[in-house]
């Protein structure tokens, strides 16, 4: 198996790692969510690419074709996309509320304010 033969996995891994890196490295809440979305999307591509059968066509019954791609992962990923959209929406809603409560969407500023609050409570 050559390097290029499995290029779909390389794309998945590249996207996954860049998404993961953004989530960890960036302090901006919106950027984190973008990273998270990229991270999730890479898994969608993983599912869809494994369902491809070489030489297969779209899974619609027709006399002229005998080989079809596997439709099940597509359906699964539709569900996962919905879950992903819900997660992003909730994350963005939280970011809005955090902006209202703290006046910022930067992680380090929020943590600093939390520390101050805890300090004054004692």
């Amino acid at each position: 198996m050559s390097f290029l033969e499995q290029y779909n996995y390389w794309i998945v891994i590249f996207l996954m790692m860049s998404g993961f890196y953004i989530v960890i490295a960036h302090g901006n809440l919106i950027k984190k969510l973008m990273g998270l979305t990229i991270f999730q999307t890479s898994v969608f591509i993983l599912y869809i690419s494994i369902s491809k059968v070489i030489g297969g066509t779209a899974p619609i019954l027709d006399d002229r074709y005998t080989i079809y791609s596997n439709p099940l992962p597509h359906v699964l990923i539709l569900t996962a996309i919905v879950v992903g959209v819900a997660t992003t929406a909730l994350g963005l809603a939280l970011a809005v509320r955090i902006k209202e409560a703290y006046g910022t969407v930067e992680e380090d500023v929020i943590q600093e304010k939390d520390l101050q609050q805890e300090g004054s409570a004692e």
Binding site: L36, L76, V83, T87, G91, I98, A101, Y102, E122
Partner: protein
């Protein structure tokens, strides 16, 4: 009707959630939700009866048989877990009416109940389903609902805690999704029992190992295994008290169920413990969790957060039991799963009472509370004794089994460290006892009254259960042994 019980278990809370939207009026919704919960509880008891009569129940959704359709499968382990989750959620809801009015703005109470029901749906779904992808979907339903519940806390830090939980929880869920995808890729099935049959054929491929690794890390994030627990302390500390009770008692337990199901039923003991150094990984992480989280707990000033760290350490005990990899170890895990749910429900409900009267869970606010709120504080103390593992409480029973399992497997240094963990628990419980009973009440504190009965009674139901099951262990130990055997038996 009877044959549709497995799906009714999940669908009743699911349908109850949108109906709350229509009812709108918070007081109406409260009773409606309580009734729906009680129904779910009754169904879970009926399910157990059915399982005892007919053995494992198999239900095909929409009449589509297993390989094509989604299958729900209830065996004894599932049935007992369903009872655990529904009973705790019902009793917790009894206290919700009082507690929520103090902690959540009136206009948002209905939404809280909706999130609560959706979270319950997710947890019940995870337990009931026999389909790997379904597990993921229900896991996300329950997680999204719990992020919402946590964000409703009255402190702004609850928003930040919820956001952090969302990020980490989603990474965990995506890892689980990758794991399931790779399993599907190798076997062509999502049904847990087909997976268990087909995985051995391909078990030496790297893909299966990768799938297992992704899945394991994902689930461990969800169940807050040290060092993946970072989301948990803040989430529990700043969530509304009722959400804390519910999540602490059920959410992590269900995640442990998923772990058990995949390690033992799907991959099988052989693969998990002989091809992989799972014993070493789980025992060392569990032990680190027990010790490190207990030490951190000692230094907390927020009492809710203190008990959240204690949850992390208790999860460590459960993981230790799995890691030992013997039947006794698994029995200890099952016992502790049940017992810890009882302890933490009692403690967090009593804390809900403290929040209701005092409005703070800072340790300084506890000064003198032992005299002002004797019943509430007594509930915390009994729960605390149970956490330590004092005889005549449930905590003793599960620790006894755990130490027994460790000694059986010749892991006596680990057993010693488990006992050290108990000593650390004494330290953090004592801090609360000292402040509450031996310090004079704060000057400007008006005389606080006892927590309202609506909170006190549910809390004491759990306290009494703590003592009852600590004395009469035949039921819990019997069930745990049976389910441990079931898990070791592989597929049935």
């Amino acid at each position: 009707m009877i044959q549709h019980l497995p799906i009714l278990q999940v669908i009743i809370p699911l349908l109850a959630a949108p109906i709350c939207f229509i009812l709108k009026e918070a007081r109406l919704v409260r009773w409606f939700v309580l009734i729906a919960n009680a129904m779910a509880f009754v169904i879970s008891i009926m399910l157990l009866q059915q399982v005892n009569l007919h053995g494992t129940l198999v239900y095909s959704l929409g009449g589509w048989e297993a390989p094509i359709g989604i299958e729900y499968r209830i065996d004894e382990l599932n049935a007992y877990l369903l009872i655990l989750v529904t009973s705790i959620s019902t009793i917790t809801l009894m206290a919700a009416g009082k507690s929520l009015t103090k902690e959540i703005p009136e206009s948002k109470i209905t939404y809280f109940y909706i999130a609560y029901m959706l979270c319950l749906t997710g947890l019940l779904g995870i337990v009931a389903t026999g389909d790997a992808f379904n597990v993921f979907v229900f896991l996300e339903i329950s997680s999204l609902a719990s992020y919402t519940m946590i964000a409703m806390g009255n402190d702004r830090r609850s928003l930040w805690a919820s956001y952090q939980y969302l990020i980490m929880g989603t990474i965990g869920a995506t890892f689980i999704l990758i794991g399931i995808g790779l399993m599907y890729m190798m076997t062509g099935t999502l049904n847990l029992y087909d997976l268990a049959e087909r995985l051995p054929e391909v078990e030496h491929t790297k893909t299966v190992f990768t799938a297992f690794a992704f899945f394991l890390v994902g689930v461990c994030l969800k169940l807050a295994l040290f060092p993946l627990h970072l989301w948990l302390p803040n989430a529990y500390a700043y969530a509304p008290s009722i959400a804390t009770v519910f999540l602490a008692a059920t959410a992590t337990k269900v995640a442990i169920y998923v772990l058990l199901r995949f390690i033992f039923s799907v991959y099988g003991f052989e693969f998990s413990f002989t091809h992989l150094p799972l014993t070493e990984i789980l025992v060392s992480l569990g032990l680190l969790g027990v010790i490190a989280a207990s030490i951190v707990a000692i230094y907390q000033t927020n009492v809710k957060r203190l008990f959240a760290y204690s949850s992390v350490s208790q999860i460590g005990y459960m993981i230790l039991g799995i890691g030992v990899g013997t039947k006794t170890g698994l029995t200890a895990t099952m016992l502790h799963l049940f017992n810890h749910a009882l302890m933490k429900s009692a403690i967090f409900l009593a804390l809900a009472g403290v929040v209701y009267r005092v409005g703070s869970v800072n340790i300084k606010a506890f000064a003198g509370l032992g005299r002002q709120m004797p019943w509430t504080m007594a509930a915390i103390v009994v729960g605390g004794l149970s956490l330590i593992g004092v005889p005549l409480t449930v905590g003793f029973v599960s620790k006894w089994y755990l130490v027994l399992a460790l000694l059986e497997s010749n892991m006596w240094p680990v057993a010693v460290l488990v006992l050290v963990g108990s000593l650390l628990a004494i330290a953090y419980i004592w801090r609360i006892v000292e402040v509450a009973y031996f310090k004079p009440a704060l000057q400007n504190n008006q005389a606080y009254k006892e927590a309202p009965l609506a909170i006190l009674i549910p809390a004491w139901i759990f306290v009494i259960a703590n003592i009852y099951f600590g004395i009469d262990t035949s039921f819990t130990a019997g069930v745990s042994e049976k389910t441990a055997e079931l898990l070791f038996g592989g597929v049935r």
